[in-house]
């Protein structure tokens, strides 16, 4: 019986060498690498699409004017290129969104990760996914036609304009709740159970264990989730275009209509600026700014996640 396999095992040189060439393995690897490179090509494409007009823009408009003035109106006559009104609007709407989404999202995450039964989690996580999938035009429509009138009715003293940063920011916040909740829940779930048991074994309650052990241990994951949510909020277009408006005036009051960077791009980009005109290049300059901001924030978040992974490995 053993004769059968002994025949294949003469201890001769080369018997362990490759019995047949495996070009297929190389081919497969090449195809896979190519697929992975598509994402790099995308980034390069974005950079190319943005870079040339942006460089040309700054050949005409000085960086000093762009970042040094609060007067914005590149399509007016005479044009004005101080980008601060857009930045302020973007920051303000993002802030409102974060104020809404972080407490709610984090609390929902703690509930799902630490309190909810497996059954409950199995029901609510998909429901949160639905919320994450609701098209942003729908949120915008809801903000414009339901939330703003409701807020105007409930709080007349706020003196809300028909389009305003408050309602837009609120709904952007609702939009990013699932991002905060789901990613934070993931990182809380990744906290080793041993830490929880360690805390319970010391007589800590569930609340203390959640707040003092689980959340700090998942902290960098949570921060990464929040940063990703912030970059989604900062770049959100349809909600702010529909419910936040396009008025590009430097204002801090969230009851006013204001234009974010993304809203400006949508407005000007779907409009009439002729290719090559300074107004057209402005779209790309603002696009570059938005790209750089979100890219930088996400780079930070990626670093966070990496650091966080190192802790338990």
């Amino acid at each position: 019986m053993s004769a059968q396999h002994r025949t294949t095992v003469p201890g001769t040189q080369g018997s362990l060498a490759r019995s047949r060439p495996r070009y297929g393995e190389f081919l497969v690897k090449a195809v896979l690498l190519t697929a992975a490179m598509v994402s790099v090509a995308t980034t390069i494409g974005i950079v190319i699409a943005l870079l040339e007009p942006t460089v040309e823009f700054f050949a005409t408009v000085s960086i000093g004017e762009f970042f040094g003035s609060t007067d914005w109106g590149p399509l007016f006559n005479p044009p004005a290129f101080g980008v601060w009104p857009l930045i302020v609007a973007t920051v303000e709407i993002t802030l409102i969104a974060v104020v809404v989404a972080v407490p709610l999202g984090l609390a929902a995450a703690i509930y799902l990760s630490e309190y909810a039964s497996r059954r409950t989690r199995k029901i609510f996580k998909p429901v949160l996914e639905v919320l994450a999938g609701v098209p942003t035009v729908v949120f915008g429509f809801f903000a414009l036609t339901f939330v703003t009138p409701l807020l105007r009715y409930l709080f007349p003293f706020l003196d809300l304009e028909a389009k305003n940063a408050l309602a837009a920011g609120l709904l952007v916040g609702v939009m990013i709740i699932p991002i905060v909740a789901s990613l934070s829940e993931d990182s809380m779930a990744a906290v080793p159970n041993g830490l929880r048991e360690g805390s319970y074994a010391l007589g800590a309650s569930k609340m203390l264990t959640s707040v003092r052990v689980v959340v700090p241990a998942a902290f960098s994951g949570i921060v990464a989730a929040i940063i990703l949510a912030i970059s989604r909020a900062a770049g959100e277009t349809m909600i702010v275009a529909i419910a936040g408006g396009f008025k590009s005036v430097f204002t801090l009051y969230p009851g006013n209509e204001m234009s974010t960077m993304a809203a400006f791009i949508a407005q000007a980009g779907s409009g009439d600026a002729s290719v090559g005109s300074i107004a057209y290049k402005t779209i790309f300059a603002v696009g570059s700014l938005l790209f750089v901001i979100t890219f930088a924030m996400n780079y930070l978040s990626a670093r966070m996640v990496q650091k966080y992974r190192e802790v338990y490995d």
Partner: protein
């Protein structure tokens, strides 16, 4: 010292009024989740209530009309959206899954270029969709001269969802325990055999779930199409990849820009259809997840 307190009376193990605070905390947590979901419920109720009069077969049988909003339909938008979804599935899913396989199974994490690809993908996931619109406009429509066609829209949306597909496919592949790979390799299987015959079959449900969720993000996008300047009144269905087209979200955007109340009702009805497609896709994802969830 511990010994001094050794004999203990019954009351000592009783609770010391902790539950109230505990309960409040728990209620606050549940309330947060409830508020988030209440928004969803309110939104659904609002659009269903408002769109109710127009939720009839005219909606999908008729083409949009600005002359007769009360009988206008959204057929071109539904079909445009379906075209975009189908093409995106064909382009983004294979690319994304292959890239995920590369990153999980082949890439040597110590090599700078692999780290670059990874970082790049996570960064792309955060790039605003309007910026993808600029990419579509500048590179695909104008530079590649694809024009304002279904193809341009689909390529743009494919690039937009690609990072999401890759990230979720990686998640699914990573969930296949290393012991399965080791088992296969220890039998003399090559790496590709191991991937193709063990890893992929085991991770298909997870990949499918992630892909469906990525596509459901794709169907809701309007901003890139806005940049691409797709026509708002399209009264014909796309006939091919080089055809003009519109998509539901853009149609909704154009309806809510109209002064007549009938268009607002029509927009609500169209939103209900869009959300129905979304819910259907999510349900398939959930079903897949529950049906094929692996217990190792």
């Amino acid at each position: 010292m511990a010994i001094l307190s050794t004999p203990r009376s019954a009351v000592q193990l009783a609770s010391k009024g902790r539950p109230l605070k505990e309960h409040l905390f728990r209620i606050a947590l549940m309330a947060s989740l409830a508020i988030a979901l209440a928004f969803l419920a309110m939104l659904l109720l609002y659009v269903v209530e408002k769109g109710w009069p127009r939720l009839n077969s005219m909606l999908w049988e008729n083409q949009p009309s600005i002359r007769r909003p009360e009988t206008s339909g959204i057929q071109s938008g539904i079909l445009g959206t379906l075209w975009i979804i189908a093409l995106t599935a064909v382009m983004a899913l294979p690319t994304g899954i292959l890239a995920a396989i590369y990153l999980e199974e082949y890439a040597d994490k110590t090599k700078w270029y692999n780290r670059l690809i990874e970082l790049n993908i996570s960064n792309l996931a955060a790039v605003p969709s309007i910026v993808y619109g600029i990419l579509g406009l500048g590179i695909i429509a104008r530079w590649l001269q694809f024009g304002f066609t279904v193809m341009t829209g689909a390529v743009t949306i494919s690039l937009l969802v690609l990072p999401i597909v890759i990230i979720s496919a990686r998640e699914a592949i990573r969930a296949v325990p290393p012991s399965i790979r080791e088992g296969s390799l220890a039998l003399g299987a090559t790496q590709w055999q191991t991937i193709y015959r063990q890893v992929l079959p085991a991770s298909i449900p997870g990949i499918a779930t992630g892909s469906i969720l990525a596509l459901s993000r794709a169907i809701g996008e309007a901003a890139p199409f806005l940049m691409l300047g797709a026509a708002t009144l399209v009264r014909f269905n796309p006939e091919g990849v080089w055809s003009s087209f519109t998509v539901l979200p853009l149609q909704i955007y154009s309806f809510i820009s109209r002064p007549q109340e009938e268009f607002s009702v029509l927009a609500s009805a169209a939103i209900v259809i869009l959300l129905a497609i979304l819910l259907l896709m999510n349900s398939v994802a959930i079903w897949l997840r529950n049906r094929y969830q692996k217990r190792w």
